[in-house]
């Protein structure tokens, strides 16, 4: 006896085995990401006043990546229909595009990650004033209001340093190239700052120039420091965990397609129907991964 319904459809369920299996798998995936989303909501609701950072993610890039994924979903659908119509070449061409999109998506994501890694936030024991650090003008909504933390690039110490690790390395201070604006400033405040002429010190008349003027901060004054990596705070923790897990899924899907496209292609000759099915099933997974991103993007980038 052999296992039935590997390719043909069972009428009472209307499915062949692999498809049924994939739907079930997606159900569990939905629970996985659902749980992570709930965790995100749970933590965000519990966050302290003003603790949750805003506007740190690159929305245009994110939006572009969304387009990339949607395109790939389309090409997957096309490639499958091509196979249905028995056109292997057309299927190939579409899948190349899919794989390209996948690569593009991951590349862009990687770049986004990297861009975060060399930003540092430094929380100081005593809040600093704009008088002491004119270069930090972009940090102060109101020049007379000291701020508790400053952000910017730090050259050549890599993303994973902490106060403790620097002290171990015998450093005494860090050289910070402050960002134009602190993320705790609302977009409106930032715009106002840009407008505001401050002839008193030209360095900050345009927020952008401020980056060049660096600030030297003694480790002894630092309460805590972290790059924009997971440990920075619950926001980046959820951001990296969710997008990272999603990226792994994209990678997995791409590998699946690549396998079907090259080593697996033999099956096309022996059992074309089954081959088509395998593309359909992998496609289901791909659409799901796409869907997850369509939830992720607004929730993490926009809200």
């Amino acid at each position: 006896m052999k296992i039935p319904y590997t390719t043909e459809i069972r009428e009472d369920t209307g499915l062949y085995n692999a498809k049924a299996g994939m739907w079930l798998f997606l159900a569990s995936e939905a629970m996985l990401f659902g749980a992570l989303f709930s965790a995100y909501v749970f933590l965000r609701i519990g966050a302290w006043e003003g603790e949750w950072p805003h506007g740190l993610l690159n929305v245009p890039i994110g939006a572009f990546n969304t387009l990339v994924l949607i395109t790939s979903s389309l090409t997957v659908a096309m490639s499958w229909t091509s196979l249905k119509m028995g056109d292997l070449q057309r299927y190939r061409r579409f899948q190349f595009v899919t794989l390209f999109c996948a690569a593009a998506f991951l590349g862009i994501k990687g770049w986004e990650y990297f861009d975060k890694f060399n930003h540092y936030e430094i929380w100081l024991k005593e809040p600093v004033s704009s008088q002491e650090y004119p270069q930090l003008a972009g940090h102060f909504a109101d020049p007379d209001q000291p701020v508790a933390s400053v952000i910017g690039h730090i050259e050549g110490i890599g993303p994973f340093q902490t106060l403790a690790s620097l002290q171990e390395e015998g450093e005494s201070a860090v050289e910070l190239h402050p960002d134009a604006f602190h993320y705790r400033l609302s977009a409106r405040q930032q715009a106002e700052l840009r407008k505001a002429e401050r002839p008193s010190d030209p360095a900050v008349s345009h927020g952008a120039d401020a980056e060049h003027a660096s600030v030297r901060i003694d480790l002894s004054r630092i309460a805590r420091m972290s790059a924009f990596v997971p440990r920075h705070g619950t926001f980046f923790a959820t951001y990296f965990t969710l997008t990272g897990l999603h990226a792994l899924h994209v990678l997995g899907g791409a590998l699946m397609f690549a396998f079907i496209l090259w080593p697996g292609a033999r099956m096309w000759r022996d059992d074309p129907e089954r081959y088509t099915n395998s593309v359909e099933v992998a496609g289901l997974f791909w659409h799901f991964v796409d869907l997850v991103w369509i939830f992720l993007f607004p929730v993490i980038y926009l809200l």
Binding site: L24, A39, R231
Partner: protein, 620 residues
């Protein structure tokens, strides 16, 4: 299917045959059960004689585990490891793989008349993922700091700050186990949905298949949230995040300035218990399935209220997703939430009651054969009854405040999992052993095993209820010595543990030892009979109706020699008992032989002779 014989390795190790994989699961998980049993013995010794070096094996312990077991004594750290690992191993590496991996793997395809699982390769993969997870779990005993020490529930912040890599191993192992059971459950569900032979409608499925079907859904949908939780806890441990770490922690006297804070310890509890509670029904549903099969066969009559059983199983499946916070009553929840969870928790007990009642009523009017499997199955009823009933007071916040985290809880759930699930598992092993090996297990040893285990289990777990009400807390590495009235600092202190409560630790310890001793005949019986047991007289020694008994013994690769077709409900026993004697049906018996059942694949319209069977004596 494949005509050529695969080589030995492909046949017995990297096999894709669901029967071989089932046996692999069975042997591995039984081995883990055994380890869990040994850990328990060590714990019980410590509880009865706090701080005393462990006799006999003490030296070996120190040699194996080093400083935590210094002088052969069980340090608090070691005790906590043992507690956490006993729980983890018993549940995730012992019982679940046994009732779901082993029994479902071996029996479901047979009972639905399939040649194999829907995805044989996936099936093999899930076994090896389970094996890897298990090995990682065991290795963690030997890493610096020892195995996980924060209980099987691994509550952060404790689990995160605890200074041992064991916890990290625990998390990684859990991720493997979860993936394994995800694949397994997909396989089972698809097999049941897609591979049922013609004529085998949903309402003709043996209840065992139904129970495993629902179980599979529980694993499929409840495990991922915990996987998410585990991933987050891994991030906390490895990447220094603060998913579960609130603001303002002060660890060992120093403010935790390295952490960002902002997380919530309760988040983990929600993610964990969202699995945790369905998990407990994963432990019990297949057990109920097994017991149902055994009872139907040994009462020689249809199960009472088959549809009610199926409905209840489904109801349990749905409801178990919405009761999880009854493990969190004392975390300080508001009126609304606690009302909700008290209500759902009480409601979910009803389907269990229905199932139990149906099984009990099935006994009425039967011709009960007290075979070894039947004894375990019968014992399951009151034992699960006690376990379940003691769940009821816990369901009410008002009563739970008095019982929470006491030995009453330990008593409650052990009554369900140990003399409950474990007994059902024993019943299943004794019942299907002849089909799997073609040999009977020794009946005398079986009776010894049964009565010994029954008595000891109750001597162990009933006192725990009493201890719990008396205030004995669980997870106390010194058996409550510090809290005992005898302790000098508790002069005239109300609520300190009375001598009676403390001394029960001794009774329990000895009973536990006896319990372990009574497992020896079983282990011997198991291996001896597998090779030298009494060969079965025919393919269907219990005269059962379901499909697995209508194949050669042991079933060949591909399971069935002829095309199967199902004509009737699963438990067609004695249906013609009150008709006059007639011909024996051709298919399942030679003329004249007593037949009081019709196999599911036996064509309709065959009457039955009803003289007292010659060969039934051998079963009685």
């Amino acid at each position: 299917m494949s005509s050529h014989e695969p080589g030995l390795i492909r046949k017995y190790i990297f096999s894709t045959d669901h029967k071989v994989i089932g046996i692999q699961y069975a042997l591995t998980s039984l081995a883990f059960l055994f380890i869990g049993l040994m850990l328990m013995l060590l714990m019980r010794w410590q509880l009865a004689n706090p701080g005393q070096p462990v006799p006999i094996v003490g030296g070996a312990l120190e040699g194996l585990l080093g400083e935590p077991a210094g002088e052969g004594k069980i340090s608090a750290d070691l005790y906590n490891s043992f507690g956490a690992m006993h729980g983890t191993i018993m549940i995730f590496l012992g019982v679940v793989p046994l009732v779901f991996g082993a029994f479902a793997n071996y029996l479901v395809p047979l009972q639905v008349g399939a040649a194999d699982m829907a995805f044989p390769k996936l099936n093999m993969l899930s076994y090896f993922l389970y094996l890897i997870g298990g090995v990682i779990m065991l290795v963690s005993f030997f890493v610096p700091g020892g195995a996980a020490q924060a209980g099987w529930t691994s509550y952060p912040p404790l689990a995160t700050i605890i200074p041992t890599d064991g916890q990290t191993y625990w998390l990684v192992a859990m991720v493997f186990l979860i993936t394994s059971s995800l694949l397994g459950s997909i396989n089972i569900i698809v097999t049941v949905m897609q591979l049922r032979v013609p004529g085998l409608t949903w309402m003709r499925l043996p209840f065992f298949v139904w129970s495993e079907f629902v179980t599979a859904f529980l694993l499929l949908l409840a495990f991922p949230p915990m996987e998410a939780g585990a991933i987050l806890q891994l991030m906390d441990r490895l990447a220094g995040t603060s998913f579960y770490m609130p603001h303002g922690l002060i660890l060992s006297g120093q403010p935790a300035t390295g952490l960002s804070g902002g997380g919530s310890p309760l988040l983990w509890q929600h993610l964990f218990w969202f699995l945790g509670h369905p998990e407990v029904y994963v432990l019990i549903l297949p057990a109920m399935g097994i017991v149902t099969e055994v009872i139907a066969n040994n009462t020689r009559k249809p199960i009472w209220g088959y549809r009610a059983l199926v409905g209840s199983a489904l109801a349990i499946g749905f409801l178990s997703m919405v009761v999880w916070a009854h493990h969190m009553y004392v975390t300080g929840m508001g009126t609304g939430i606690s009302m909700f969870f008290q209500t759902t928790t009480t409601i979910i007990s009803i389907p269990s009651v229905i199932i139990m009642t149906c099984l009990m009523l099935s006994l009425w009017g039967g011709a009960i054969r007290f075979t070894v499997p039947m004894l375990f199955a019968i014992a399951f009823l009151p034992m699960f009854g006690i376990g379940g009933l003691t769940g009821l007071p816990l369901a009410f916040t008002m009563a739970d405040v008095a019982l929470h985290d006491s030995y009453y809880i330990i008593g409650h759930f052990h009554y369900v999992v140990a003399p409950g699930t474990i007994f059902a598992v024993f019943a299943g092993i004794y019942y299907w052993f002849p089909k799997v090996t073609g040999r009977h297990m020794n009946r005398g040893l079986g009776y010894l095993h049964f009565w010994g285990s029954l008595v000891c289990m109750n001597l162990i777990f009933f006192p725990m209820l009493f201890q719990g009400l008396g205030g004995m807390g669980r997870r106390m590495s010194d058996g409550g010595y510090i809290y005992s009235a005898a302790h000098p600092s508790n002069e005239g202190v109300i609520g300190s543990l009375s001598d009676a409560v403390v001394q029960l630790n001794g009774v329990i310890a000895w009973s536990a030892l006896a319990l372990a001793a009574f497992q020896l005949p079983f282990i011997y019986n198991f291996f001896y009979s597998a090779f030298a047991g009494r060969p079965v007289e025919n393919d269907n020694p219990w005269q059962a109706t379901t499909l697995e008994w209508q194949t050669p013994t042991p079933p060949p690769h591909g399971n069935f020699t002829q095309e199967m077709f199902v004509y009737r409900e699963p438990y067609a026993y004695s249906l013609h008992a009150n008709e006059p004697a007639g011909r024996a049906p051709e298919s399942s018996a030679t003329a004249g032989e007593f037949v009081d059942f019709e196999a599911q694949n036996q064509p309709l319209g065959a009457a039955v002779t009803t003289e007292m069977p010659a060969n039934q004596a051998s079963i009685l």
